[in-house]
Chain length 303, copies 2
């Protein structure tokens, strides 16, 4: 592809002007599930940036269709690049939840086959390696990959008490333990979250995801809720994680599930965890009497 | 209690002789669930050692009644010590699975109330701290607490390939990763086991226990089995764990569940993990084509 050019001179030909226009093309949002892709698109549009959403079929919400969009299936790597090229997109954001596709049922297009050595390299290792590989692959093709927080910082958790309730000193002790656990897990590329109740690590997230982990805690703590809320869900990115993609996320459902599990609150790494549907998330926390807390972490502390 | 005495002199009084006989009393086996308490009692009896099983009601198998036994409920701390004293037991083994009792429903006896400060100290921290506290408490009262492996080393996993099948080089790589994960977890007093499939940590055990963790893997890997067995369940004690009590255990059910999850095998820390019902465990592994492997670990490596 052409060299990057900042602006077109009046003397340039129509073809050259078009080339530059292509470089300033819409922000491409590769969208998985949840409300974040649309929230991000709104945030970008509010800043005057045109967007085009590439929705992953079976993952992205059909509501993305209120924006300019294209649907892609897993395996349509050729279609992805053709779409980006056709729109003149150079800037990408990858956002939203995805399930690991069952590769046996994915139909790869010709563009995928051309990139087969890369795709085969994805089969080994943890999520973090996989996502870093995807980002390096896209950058190698000349795309710029941005984090959602770079486009719209207001989507990230702020520092300190975020809702009505503040963590107690006991909660703070559980929060500290939780970040220590998540940090140790993250160094092994395992998971991003853990639940700590009164100093005891109740659950640790690996491949099952945060929601399944909290549901397990609700099961383990049956009957414990009547003795009062206690414990905390801690969530933070892994050390060295590709934070432009797959930033840890919480939302109203996370709060509902934490309340079901009898937890006193949720603590996240400030500035490094996305809050999907901020208003609904804070409202849920306030309704259930849970704290929501953004903990400032040194970057080498992880988490 | 009296000082320890090795043997009675002929000149001693009947009361003194009885005191010495009490010191050489039966081995007391405080029994939780599963087949291990009875297996251990058989192993001790085969060595000519009299045993008395103290079965925890609701935990221990009723089959322990073929041995001299006493039933205890959670909270009957006074009855425990009265029984040990009455039998002249100074040597204890604590073995078998227990569920964490719901303290709100435990009825404490007078002996428990006398030891209340100790019992209250158990409420905080991980399983490991709790069990170490129990052992120190018993030792403080003059009892000797033995590990099941000290009484019957044949109950521990040996080194190397234990069944018909040996791990492949790919399996060995997953085994190495698994022990690294379990070691890191153990240092945080979290859990004793993890599942690694092709370099990826699929699940990590915390409070839910090994069985629930493997069941989760079976759920996560639905449909993966037809593509062939892969991955390993790794189990090892935590670094600094009180290995006389609560040694990690596998048995036939563990193998059945690992097979359900499509795993290629199970690796345990050689000499530091108990195998309940060894014959049935090996038979299950051979039937399902799973490897069973005892990995020699440096003690400071954990795990």
């Amino acid at each position: 592809m052409s060299q990057r050019r900042v602006k077109a001179e009046p003397s340039e030909s129509k073809a050259e002007a078009e080339a530059v226009a292509r470089e300033n093309g819409p922000l491409a949002i590769i969208a998985g599930g949840g409300t974040l892709p649309a929230t991000l698109a709104d945030a970008a549009a509010a800043r005057g940036r045109a967007v085009h959403i590439l929705g992953i079929r079976g993952e992205a919400d059909t509501k993305i269709s209120r924006f300019p969009h294209t649907w892609l299936k897993w395996g349509e790597v050729g279609k992805l690049f053709a779409t980006l090229e056709g729109l003149g997109c150079r800037d990408l954001v990858i956002i939203g939840s995805v399930s690991r596709p069952d590769l046996a049922n994915v139909r790869f297009d010709f563009g995928a086959i051309r990139n087969l050595p890369f795709l085969l390299s994805l089969g080994v290792g943890g999520d973090d390696q996989l996502l870093s590989s995807v980002v390096r692959f896209l950058e190698g093709k000349g795309y710029r990959v941005y984090g959602a927080g770079e486009v719209a910082p207001e989507l990230l958790a702020a520092e300190g008490t975020l809702g009505d309730k503040a963590p107690t000193p006991d909660d703070r002790a559980d929060i500290e333990t939780g970040f220590r656990v998540v940090s140790a897990l993250g160094r092994l590329d395992i998971g991003q979250s853990a639940v700590v109740v009164k100093g005891r690590v109740l659950a640790v997230e690996a491949a099952e995801g945060t929601d399944a982990m909290i549901a397990r805690c609700a099961e383990l703590r049956k009957g414990a809720r009547r003795r009062g809320l206690a414990g905390v869900l801690v969530k933070a990115p892994k050390p060295g994680q590709e934070e432009r993609v797959d930033l840890p996320t919480i939302g109203p459902d996370t709060v509902e599930m934490a309340a079901q599990a009898g937890l006193a609150g949720i603590a996240v790494a400030a500035g490094r965890v996305l809050i999907a549907d901020r208003a609904a998330t804070l409202a849920a926390a306030n309704t259930h009497g849970l704290f929501l807390f953004g903990q400032k972490l040194a970057r080498d502390q992880n988490a």
